[in-house]
Subunit: 307 residues, 2 copies
């Protein structure tokens, strides 16, 4: 099944305790599509400026990502983000945000994107997310992410948009902030009351939890000795999650969702091993399947069940 993602395309400057990059390809739609590309056909919708050239397109195309719906804004500059992680990588500081062409972004959904089977609305303004959702009316499965900024400034719109999707993938701080609930189970139920059947809570270094009507599943993050760059891990998780579901015809049964959680965790775990998109550019499907087995071994209480 085909998958389309709408979100940011960016240049990132990132400093972590293990090194830094002055300028590299980033953005939620980039990380998501790179991750999803290991499972299914994926198209990217997002704006770029004159500074976005062949080299950047090649990173996406080399992974088979369809870039036809990337909108080149003549005379504009691409979204730029500069951030730094502390020794405790859970703590991140933003030093600079230049929205540039992303600030005026009005998603234009081509016929091909509008007819995609699966849709991911990465973290953009919730009114825009809803417009895209309406244009992609044929999507059998739609998911979204959001952030504290929109919970603060556009809460009502965000709640309406959540009502139009099947899966919400957000981090635990955001989900608590949105619902004002003290436990993740209550928070997830509140979100399901808004419409979605499935809530995935991203927990950063603690992994991710899945809530459905009567189901719960949780996975730890892969235990890395060194995390080079956590940027984009959440988007890679979403890409692996929805990419896998798209590849299977967007099933919604518990077993499929658990496998999707695992593939999401696997791809995210690779992404943090190098800066930006560097690791995913070199990643192979064989490595993904090997680490999937690692996850089965490291989470089995009694024994590793036979495949």
């Amino acid at each position: 099944m085909s998958l389309v993602v709408v979100g940011s395309i960016a240049f990132d400057a990132v400093k972590t305790p293990f090194g830094e990059r002055e300028r590299m390809l980033g953005g939620s739609a980039v990380h998501f599509s790179m991750a999803a590309s290991f499972f299914t056909d994926v198209r990217v919708v997002g704006p770029v400026g004159d500074d976005f050239g062949d080299e950047e397109y090649a990173v996406l195309r080399d992974r088979g990502v369809n870039t036809d719906d990337i909108e080149h804004v003549a005379g504009g500059k691409t979204f730029f983000w500069k951030g730094e992680y502390e020794w405790n990588l859970n703590i991140r500081h933003t030093h600079d945000t230049q929205l540039n062409v992303f600030g005026e972004f009005q998603p234009k959904v081509s016929d091909a994107s509008a007819s995609a089977d699966v849709l991911f609305l990465a973290n953009i303004q919730p009114d825009l997310q809803r417009e895209v959702r309406e244009q992609c009316s044929g999507a059998k499965l739609a998911g979204l992410d959001s952030m504290n900024l929109w919970i603060d400034t556009a809460r009502e719109s965000l709640v309406r948009t959540i009502g139009t999707v099947d899966v919400v993938l957000m981090n635990d701080d955001e989900i608590r902030m949105l619902t004002e609930q003290p436990t993740l189970l209550r928070a997830a139920r509140d979100i399901m009351d808004m419409g979605p059947s499935t809530v995935v809570v991203k927990l950063g270094e603690y992994g991710a939890s899945l809530f459905t009507g009567d189901g719960f599943f949780s996975l730890p993050a892969y235990p890395h000795e060194t995390v080079i760059d956590p940027t984009g891990a959440g988007d890679c998780f979403a890409g692996g999650f929805l990419g896998y579901l798209a590849s299977e015809g967007s099933p919604s049964d518990d077993a499929s969702l658990r496998r999707a959680m695992t593939f999401g965790s696997v791809v995210a775990s690779f992404n943090v091993e190098q800066f930006g998109t560097e690791r995913l550019q070199a990643l192979t499907r064989g490595e993904i399947d090997e680490r999937y087995e690692d996850f089965r071994r490291m989470t089995a209480i009694d024994q590793v069940p036979a495949l």
Copy 2:
């Protein structure tokens, strides 16, 4: 196998978003021993004052906990702690700490305790922990917990004490603070370099992770709709973990450690359902085994493996 725990016995005053208690039985040795009592014979070593009476002894004895080594300090008062949890239960504020008899505590280990097979050094001053460890020289399996206070004020002693035990059970903030490592895997390896073969990192609402020489295992916390009182959950985890291992002859293989992690998680999950020791006073072994099955179901990636 017999198990002995050395630690605090306390009265706690606790306020959470779901209620409060002015004065209830608490302390690390109390929570630990109540939890371990579901699996094996357990003795408590710790000091109490004149305010500790039949009612408090009865809570422990009703669970079969041996209280012969509880030291009654005539004219003294029992350790008192007063704290409050925010709506986000991960955030706790201490309003009052009265060490009382615990401030002068010099553990006296009876012959019966000295010959216990398994020893748990709950969070007390590391010099005292080491003295107890030396007295209990016959223990085949010894574990310890600690806290930020001792990492700050008695780091060298704590490292020496860690060198005398097999298992360290600490929370992730403490383990990061002690080792100054950015990832839990590196932190755990640093601790194993100090001597222990096993490191259990308690993650609060995110569960717990197990590190051994070449092994990793992680479990989420049980997804509660409401958490009434998180106090003592970590000690209950340790009690279930070591209690189970003691009941099995203190094995150190990976499968046994994973089951111990699960029993620890199960007992901790019950403890937070009511204030203080209230839930464990009413808990049955049947409920424990049922929830153990819940943990198997909620962590199995592909299917629930047959027992």
